[in-house]
């Protein structure tokens, strides 16, 4: 009796380790045998899980905290370091299309020559060619203007949603999210159909008699703005709606009671209190729009200069991976500033909510 109990508790306490060992063995076996597609991936996942289980046993706190950091390390930091490395390389007609590549078989001298071959040539090139910095500036301009337009369109919609009666809100919310149910690409193509010379909008305006000749809208910056505002509108509406919905109606009554007109109440109470949502929405639009590629390439014209498009051309038309990587690295550095600001805003909001 006593013996079996001891055995049982010993087994129970070691069960997780046994499981971890089994998982690790299975993972290694999968990778070793390499029988099917994705066996490397599955094997890697099994091993990672085994490592986590073991770490959890050794130090629970550390293991739990480590998960997001590991995620960031594997899926953000390592790829970023690879991109940085490529941006410091030279283009080459090879696979992969750059030199140097790290040859561990050559040992210390290989490592030395590897680092010796890295340089900042691509960054110097970006600084010398006006194409790039005008593209950055033009991207920033388009991002700022379209963020502002999105805000102007989104705020009344969010306000209307928050003021709508309780039973209507889920429906309205649904309508805002609904476009996500079709592919983003198809929706942008739809805009090509609407904005084209023979498109719906032109035919409609001609039919109304407002214009005599079709307007050139497609392949202009106007179309890019339309596409961006349309695509990113939900990202602006939802955070603003979230803050407006939380707004206590009695605050507006109090403002009115203290002598405000409805309009003054809006400017003095509603707007300041929805600021966190406005800021969050602006960042959620501005950050992705800055690097936007699909919308300008489909709706924009040859004069629409956006860094995302340049990036694409460097990678796929020029096959100049090092310059493309350098463009990406600088884009990321530019974005770090608003991202940090965004995080700070979120944090402030969280503190205020407590």
């Amino acid at each position: 009796m006593r013996f079996s109990q001891t055995l049982e508790s010993a087994y129970a306490s070691k069960a997780d380790l046994v499981l971890a060992a089994l998982l690790a063995v299975a993972g290694i076996a999968l990778i070793w045998l390499n029988q099917a597609d994705g066996s490397h991936f599955t094997g890697g996942l099994l091993i990672a899980f085994a490592v986590f289980v073991t770490a959890y046993r050794i130090n629970r706190r550390l293991a739990v905290i480590a998960v997001p950091y590991l995620w960031l390390l594997v899926f953000f930091l390592v790829p970023f370091i690879i991109v940085v490395k490529i941006s410091l390389s030279d283009p080459a007609i090879a696979i992969p299309p750059y030199t140097p590549t790290l040859e561990l078989s050559e040992g210390w001298t290989g490592l030395k020559s590897f680092f010796g071959d890295l340089d900042f040539e691509n960054f110097e090139f970006l600084a010398s060619d006006p194409l790039y910095y005008t593209a950055y500036l033009s991207s920033a301009k388009i991002a700022i203007i379209s963020t502002a337009i999105t805000l102007l369109v989104a705020f009344p919609i969010a306000y209307g949603m928050a003021k709508a009666s309780e039973e209507w809100r889920p429906t309205l919310m649904m309508l805002v999210i609904l476009p996500f149910w079709t592919s983003f690409l198809i929706r942008v193509y739809a805009w090509m159909g609407i904005l084209g010379r023979e498109g719906f909008l032109n035919s409609f305006l001609l039919w109304l008699g407002i214009i005599d000749d079709p307007l050139t809208m497609l392949n202009t910056n106007f179309a890019v703005y339309v596409g961006i505002v349309y695509t990113y509108l939900p990202f602006m509406i939802l955070p603003i709606y979230a803050t407006l919905e939380k707004l206590d109606v009695s605050l507006l009554e109090a403002a009115e009671d203290l002598g405000c007109t409805r309009t003054q109440g809006f400017w003095l109470v509603t707007l300041p209190l929805s600021m966190p949502g406005i800021i969050a929405g602006c960042f959620l639009v501005f950050i992705p729009v800055l690097g936007e590629f699909v919308i300008p390439s489909l709706l924009g014209g040859s004069d629409t200069l956006m860094i995302g498009k340049i990036l694409y051309e460097e990678f796929f038309s020029n096959r100049d991976w090092p310059v493309a990587s350098a463009v990406a690295v600088i884009l990321l550095l530019i974005l770090v500033v608003p991202i940090v600001l965004f995080q700070r805003n979120q944090q402030k909001q969280a503190e205020a909510d407590q």
Binding site: L251, E253, A254, E256, L258, G259, C260, M275
Partner: protein
């Protein structure tokens, strides 16, 4: 009923026919769809009163207050403030301010800016605003917290900010919607007296909405007991407590024994026969009662003495056994079953220590009360 007052002159403008009421509700009805929240209500409130609207939730007291603030329009009837109809005047144009139940402090503004909010909407010059806010901060003892945001101060302090903000514009009328509801009991008691003090200092007319009868009794000069959109009784706290006009009011305010029976008119009062074989209750009343009329007799527990022998100088005696004792510290409630099965609650002040208490469970006791101790009610 004798009115207890700090000043030798009794404050009772409602008894003075020459006094003009500050607020007049004239046949006011308010409907929300099919629901009638206020039903043909007429009420006068006088300047410098501390007027309490008391009733269970859904009785219409909040609607009444919101109509005074201007957030609701009556469906029918008139509301006069200082003789002028204010029904069409929007909230921001009324000389009325409200302290909200949730306080409704602006979370993005400091305590100072919250209090200054209303003043800045008026045409008061800047330096005067500063002085007025400082005065309000002093009145509510918040000087130290002027720069803090509402989420950085305690619940009691927030309550005082809300009060200061609503008083800052020196309104003719201040509305308080369950002002103490969010405070714990001890703080609530302190704040009640503080409210009365501030009301006296500023001379503002206060209308308070509450469902807490103790709060209403403590602070108010007059109480209106409401039910289903109607006023049941409007009277001073002592009037409401000692002379309720109906079983509803007697039952709503404080503890009470209600005994139903048939009246018999006798010399100098009436007798109430409430049970077979039980001695009738002797009572005095101003009401016109006819023989055989069904009446309710309401008597407060503290008006009944619990003794081992009947008290000869009292008109009513009943014998019974103690069923239960509720010990509340300062007093004890005795639940006594009379010989005829009627249950009566009587309370005695614990002027002696517990160890020397006279009675315990199952003891046979006598209950005695005078013929003026209870109220005869016909509705």
């Amino acid at each position: 009923m004798a009115e207890l007052s700090k000043t030798p002159v009794v404050f009772a403008p409602w008894n003075d026919p020459n006094e003009k009421p500050l607020i007049q509700f004239k046949n006011v009805t308010k409907r929300f769809g099919d629901f009638t929240a206020i039903d043909n209500l007429t009420l006068d409130i006088y300047a410098k009163e501390f007027f309490a609207l008391l009733g269970p939730s859904g009785c219409g007291k909040t609607t009444l207050m919101r109509m005074l603030a201007g957030f609701e329009m009556p469906s029918e009837g008139q509301i006069l403030l200082g003789g002028q109809d204010i029904v069409k005047v929007p909230p921001n144009k009324r000389p009325v301010n409200m302290m909200f139940q949730s306080y409704a402090l602006f979370p993005h503004l400091s305590v100072f800016d919250n209090i200054a909010f209303g003043l800045r909407r008026s045409d008061m010059p800047k330096d005067q605003i500063k002085d007025r806010v400082a005065e309000m901060l002093r009145l509510t003892r918040l000087e130290k917290f002027a720069k803090r945001k509402p989420h950085q101060i305690s619940g009691g302090q927030r309550q005082r900010v809300a009060l200061a903000r609503s008083l800052a514009k020196a309104p003719k009328l201040l509305l308080l919607d369950e002002p103490l509801g969010a405070l714990d009991k001890k703080l609530r008691n302190d704040t009640q007296f503080e409210l009365m003090d501030i009301q006296e200092k500023t001379g503002t007319t206060f209308v308070i909405v509450t469902h807490d009868q103790e709060e209403a009794m403590t602070v108010a000069s007059r109480i209106a007991v409401m039910d289903n959109g109607k006023l049941i009784q409007v009277d001073t706290p002592s009037g409401i407590y000692e002379e309720p006009n109906s079983v509803y009011v007697a039952d709503f305010i404080g503890d009470v024994n209600i005994i139903e029976g048939n009246a018999k008119v006798v010399d100098g009062g009436i007798e109430i026969h409430y049970a077979e074989g039980a001695a009738p209750i002797h009572a005095k009343t101003d009401k016109h009662i006819t023989d055989g009329q069904r009446v309710s007799y309401a008597i407060r527990p503290e008006k009944i003495a619990v003794t081992s022998e009947p008290m000869a100088d009292r008109a009513n005696h009943a014998h019974g056994t103690i069923l239960d004792i509720g010990y509340l510290g300062h007093l004890s409630s005795y639940f006594v079953t009379l010989g005829n099965g009627q249950k009566v609650e009587a309370s005695m002040t614990n002027s002696r220590r517990l160890s020397r208490r006279d009675f315990t469970w199952e003891d046979n006791v006598w209950l005695s009360w005078t013929d003026t101790a209870g109220v005869v009610l016909t509705e």
